[in-house]
Structure formats: C-alpha cells, structure tokens
Amino acid sequence: MNRLFLVTALCVSIVSVSGCSNKSVVRYGDAEAVETTDVNFGSTDLQKIANQMADSLVLSPVVGTATENNRPIIFVERIKNKTSEHIDTESVTDSISTRLLRSGKFRFVDMGSVNAVREQLEFQQNSGLVDTSKAIAFGQHVGAQYMLYGNLASIVKSNKDASDVYYKFTLRLMDLKSGLVEWADETEIRKTKGKELVGW
C-alpha cells in the first residue's frame, strides 16, 4: 500500500515538475545556420538556392563576355511556384538579385516599384510643390536587356516511415532582344524526415 502511494506521488510530482520547468528562453542564432525544423521549405533551402544560382550566373562564361565592357540591365520576372507549399518566391528572387547586384556585374530595374516611381514623378511634375526645372522628367528610364525567370517545383512523398520532399529550382536568363536563353541552371534539394518510433 505504502509503496503504491509512493509511486503515485512520484508520478504526480514528475508531471507537475515537467509542466512547470518548461520556461521559454529567447536567443539569437546564426542566420545562416542549417535549419531542420521540418521538411517544408526553409531558410537553408532559400539560401542554398540563392547562393548557387547567383554564383553560377556570375561565373558562367557567356555572362563573362556579356559583362566584359558593360553592366547588363536585368529585370526579374517572377519565379513560378509549382510546389504544394505557399512559398514566397519573391524572397528567393530578392536574394538572388541582391547577390548579383553586389557582384557589381549587373544592374537591375525593379518592376515591383514602378507604380510608386510613377506616383513620385507625377508628384514632382504636377503637384506644384516641386521646382519643375529640377523635377525629374518622364521617359528617362533605361529598359532592361535581360529577363530573369524560373520555376520552383517539388515532389512530395510520404509513407508510414518517412516523408520525403524534393525541390528543383530552375532559373533562366533571356536576352530580350533576341529571345535567346543565354544562361540556365538548376538546383536540386532533397530532404527526408524519418518518423520517430514512439512519441507523445
């Protein structure tokens, strides 16, 4: 009897202790550390894609000749999300274009901010608040020579032992004048998560 009481008391105290000692702590971590919380698209995948694509584009011989004497102007079309996750593909293209800009070999026009620019120019021209002689006139933007576009596709499979996801990211650079695809590359990522045998 005594022993049973002891065991029950022990169980109750374990439960209550495990309930109370679970304090959450805020920490700073390395933004580039490998993240493996789950199999879904994560920061490591994004960084891997952005790094590999930007490096491959900068180092490719075709681009080398094109960037010899000038800095070609690129516009980024969207990356088509063909996966079964809601992925912010704009953030992928942002990372890639930032890296390309940093390399100093390319220049970019940003189609996402066209409306804001137009509004600002209209304000300078028509609001009456800005000195029109110094206002920026319409029609002075430079058009893009190349278009960057691509696809992100995935294959998801799972069974009772594991779930597996495969991503394929394809990026292409098209010469807008000739319509030729001057450069293309792809990155593959495979992630597998085995299921635990026993869990709560």
Partner: protein, 484 residues
C-alpha cells in the same frame, strides 16, 4: 467452502476501483474531450448551427458553434465548421486562416511518431467511456474539400498561384489515399481474437446505408476537387495538367456530359489522337469540335445544394455473457447515416432561349457514408472491447459496492454509451457543375434554382474563365463570381 476475501485483497480492489475512476476523470481532463462530448452527441450539439445555416444566417451560426480549447479532441473539426461558415459569410481571410490551422494539425499528425502514447491514452479512455474522447482524424474527403474551399479563398484574393498550391495539396491527399487505403481496412478484425463473434453480431445488426452510398467506390476520390483542379490549371495555361485531372474526374463521373466535353476539347487541342479515338467510341454525341470562336469566354457554375446530414446514433441491444455465464443485454450505440439521399433538382440556366442544366460532380453525403463504412470495422472493434470492459467494470462495482455499485456502474455505462457522430456537418450535400461558352461582355443570365428564378450578373472576358460559385441552402441562395 467459500473463501472469505482477505482484507488485503479488498484494499487492493478498492485501490483498483479508485484508480479506475481517477483515470476516467483524468482522461476527461487530459485528452480533453469536454464533458459535454461524453454525454451529448455531436449531431445534437450542431443542431442550432445547422438551423442558422439553413436560414442563411451564417454569423449567428458561427457564434453557435460550441467553443473548444485548442487541445480538445474535436478542435480541428470545430475549426473546419467555423472556416466553412466564414467562407459562406464571405470572409475569405478569416476562413483561410482557420483552414490553414486545420491543415497544420493534419500535417503534424502525419509527421508524428509511429506509436503515439497520447493515442494510446485516448483509446484507453474511449474503452472506458466512448469514441468521442478520441481525437477527430479528418477523413480524406473532408481534407480534399478543405483544400477546395481554401483554393476559393485564395481566388477571392486574386491569388491564382496560391489557389494552385491548395489544389496540389488536395491532389497529394487523394494520391496518398489511393495508395494507403488498399487493404488497410480489413486488418482490424483480426485483433479481436476470441471475442470476434461479438463483431459479427454487431456487424449483422448494423443498418444498411447502401442507398446513401450509391455508386461511390471509395470515400476519398472526389471528382469535384479534380474538376476544380483542372479548371485552375487551364486558367494558368497548363493544359496538359488540366487534361489529366479532367480525365480523373471523368473516371469518377463518366456520365457527366460537361466532363466528357472538357476531356474531348482538351484531347483535341493537345492532339491526343489515341484518346480521341477511344472517347469518340464511348461518348454518344462525339463532338470533337473545339470552340475557337473569337471574343468568347467561358462561364463555369458550381452549384452547391443543401447541407450534409449528420451521422445519427443507432442503438442496438447486444447480449454479453458475464463470467458466471449469465446473459445480460447491453445497449450499444453506433454512428450511422440515414439510408436515403435527398433529391436536388438541377439548376437551370437560360441563355439565348436555350436551357442548360447543371450536372452532379460530387455527392458529399455518399462520400461521407462510404468513408464511415470504411471505418466501421475499427469502430465496431472498439465497441466490442468497450462492451467487455464495461461489463468487467460493472462486475467489479457489484463486488465492491453490492447493488448500489451495480446501479452506479449501470448508470455510468448507459449514460456514456454515445456514438461518435462527429463529422464536418456544414458541408454542402451535393455539388453540380455547368459550363458554357458566352460572348465576352456583361451578361444578365436567368437562373432557376429550386423553382425560384434568380438573376446572375457576370462579366465574361474573351478566352478567360469566369467561375460562379452558387450556394443554395434551404431558403438561402447566393452567388460569387471569380474571374480567373
């Protein structure tokens, strides 16, 4: 000579009984089905909600959903109900959030450990009380409907690529279901061992659902999801993907003439010569002409009719033999669906003096009944184990507390004998489709919904698809248009 029970023996038994009651209480708290669930069926709890839904008063219906905490065993189900009603109340953002939450729960449970201790606890609790203690695993047809509504939520926010993500998720659900479901159902029966004769007894008395199930072959293949998927792929310019899903939908609903036309149209435009020959032989009218007329767009109407009926509790008396070989009758409650389908008249559309009618693409009531039928072996198995456990409990109580214990145990056993009638019960009963080419521009079309005429204002763009989601629940009729 009878052996007098020693004091120690009594104490241990006391302790055992106390432990049992304590366990029941802990289980009620821990796996946290509310006490309400133990004694009131889900169908009863949802009655008010469905009443308001039938009147088209969706806000009131949302407020009437019984509140549940996030660790409640039916939490994801109540989120489904809420999200569906929010969808009807035209609140796409909230509906999207709630559906996403349910999706996360599903994902989590799919990636959970193979043997989950918490499930063991729930099953144990279910054997002592009833199946409502077990967490609600969202059946596959409900998952595919979740993604379909979620796709509409994205469309409403003009996010076609988001909608396509949901469609792909729905397709993954159906693919996995097809692979996993084969042969997994009938393994349960073997677990019962010696008590399997109870199993046959229960199974034989179970009410027939064949009228409700109809021609449905499995509880997860949803032609509506495939059709929606094909439509969105077509809108996104992926004709090949669209063709595959139209064909899958046609496999499930071979008589649907709109599906026949769609398959034929895409087969022709993709030059699938073998398929064209095959389908020409199969379809009576065999029109392979592609409507290439300029300045035409398409209207696709999804007409949702009615609300699915809830599972009902079906009680039967089963004889159980006590350890003294006395026969006692036990009341056993099992979930079941009514064995009849409501009849919905098709929606009629009049355009240029011609009449067009919607055709059925999914009967959710049938899918629900079929998926219940698939779950029955497991349900009956648990029911039989419960029967035995409860009889053991009664014997114990009688030994301990004499007649009073016996009465207490009987009352407990009877009042906890509740069937698990949980299912997503705000879904439509039947969904029908209609597809038509219209000249581009504004149109005022006349619809005939359940004998009442309704004017439909749509703007058609050349070579584009305009989706119309028509809801006809009870006395309530409303529609939304999406240009995709």
């Amino acid at each position: 000579m009878l052996r007098k029970p020693s004091i120690e023996y009594m104490q241990i038994n006391h302790f055992k009984n106390g432990l049992l009651i304590a366990l029941i209480l802990i289980l009620c708290g821990c796996s946290s089905a509310s006490l309400n669930d133990l004694f009131n069926g889900y169908d009863q709890q949802m009655r008010g909600v469905k009443q308001s839904q039938l009147q088209g008063n969706f806000k009131q219906a949302i407020n009437l959903i019984p509140p549940r905490s996030s660790n409640d065993s039916s939490y994801s189900l109540s989120m489904l109900e809420k999200a569906r009603l929010e969808f009807l109340a035209n609140k796409p953002e909230q509906s999207q959030q709630d559906f996403e939450q349910v999706y996360n729960v599903i994902q989590k449970s799919q990636q959970a450990a193979k043997f989950q201790l918490s499930r063991g606890v729930e099953n144990f609790g279910a054997i002592l009380s009833n199946d409502n203690v077990i967490r609600y695993d969202i059946p596959l047809y409900e998952q595919s409907m979740l993604h379909s509504y979620q796709a509409f939520n994205y469309l409403q926010q003009k996010d076609l690529s988001g909608a396509l993500v949901e469609i792909r998720r729905a397709n993954i659900v159906q693919q996995q279901a097809l692979r996993d479901n084969l042969g997994s159902i009938y393994n349960v029966q073997n677990q019962l061992g010696d008590n399997s004769f109870y199993f046959d007894d229960v199974a034989n008395r179970y009410p027939d659902m064949s009228n409700t199930i109809g021609k449905v072959k499995n509880g997860f293949q949803n032609a509506y999801t495939f059709f929606l998927s094909a439509l969105l792929y077509e809108a996104a310019g992926q004709q090949n993907d669209a063709y595959i899903d139209y064909k899958k939908a046609l496999e499930i609903y071979p008589e649907n003439s709109y599906l026949q036309q769609d398959v034929m149209r895409l087969a022709t435009s993709l030059h699938m010569t073998d398929d064209i020959a095959k389908y020409k032989a199969r379809f009576a009218y065999a029109s392979s002409t592609v409507d290439n007329e300029q300045n035409q767009g398409q209207i696709v109407i999804f007409a949702e009719s009615g609300i699915v009926a809830n599972k009902q509790e079906y009680s039967m008396n089963l004889p159980v033999y006590t350890s003294h070989d006395d026969m006692r009758f036990y009341s056993v409650a099992l979930p079941s669906y009514q064995n009849q389908l409501k009849v919905f008249s098709p929606v009629e559309l009049v355009y240029q003096n011609k009449h067009y009618q919607t055709e059925e693409i999914v009967r959710i009531q049938s899918l629900a009944a079929k998926s219940l039928e698939d779950q029955l072996p497991a349900i009956v198995t648990r029911q039989v184990s419960r029967l035995i456990a409860k009889e053991k409990f009664r014997e114990q109580a009688q030994r301990q507390g004499g007649d009073l214990g016996n009465i207490f145990a009987n009352i407990y056993n009877m009042s906890t004998e509740k069937a698990d009638t949980r299912s997503w019960s705000t879904l439509p009963d039947s969904i029908q489709i209609l597809r038509l080419n219209l000249a581009s521009g504004e149109h005022q079309l006349e619809l005939n919904v359940n004998g009442k005429s309704q004017v439909l204002n749509v703007s058609i763009q050349a070579n584009k698809i305009t989706l119309v989601k028509l809801t006809a629940i009870g006395s309530f009729t409303n529609y939304h248009t999406f240009n995709i």
